[in-house]
Amino acid sequence: MIKVLFFASYREKLGVDSLELDQMPANLSALRELLSAKGADWQEVVNDARTLVALNQSMTRKDFELSDGDEVAFFPPVTGG
């Protein structure tokens, strides 16, 4: 099982802050495909060039393998401070 989180405008756009996937996509690319299949909004959010991705609460710009229990977050560019 993996956990997927969405924040800020993405959370609002999808109406989802968190979901748990029983299917285990092999890696980030596979996860993106799986989520894109859920609709146009989903496709935009997970594939936007500006979208930031965090694996287990660390940002990463590379593809990565997924393991049981992983937490993946998709969010727009950050605007704190």
Partner: protein, 149 residues
Amino acid sequence: MISIQQEDFDPGYEQDQLSQSTGTGAVVTFSGLVRDENLGDDVGGLYLEHYPGMTEKALQEIIEEAAERWPLQAIKVIHRVGQLHPGDRIVFVGVASAHRKAAFEICEFVMDYLKTRAPFWKKETTPEGDRWVDARESDDVAAKRWNQE
């Protein structure tokens, strides 16, 4: 060292805490405040969302990187979340070092990285409705300069 909180904080108290070592020659602080105007529109309020757990971790990593680059003696980072209003404090970064150049650089570095790497998002209330604040390219530029040194 790091605090994510809804309640306000006291910059004077934080500054005193940073000035306790007699080896410290310089304390630099940055406080970010909610402005009543952004991109030409009145701002009536600001809602700050964050990613609990990752926020602390991201700030911790930024501080560790600063400590590797400069002789850092003490640091405090406070970031508020939730509903804020014009004039409210949002963020505090306070840095103590032996000399002023390092203290200034650390404080700017932490703010530049916080602005681009820490998972906070601002939503503004304006007369035209609520809107998520767009990331600013100038913040990316500011953060990137630290890679070139």
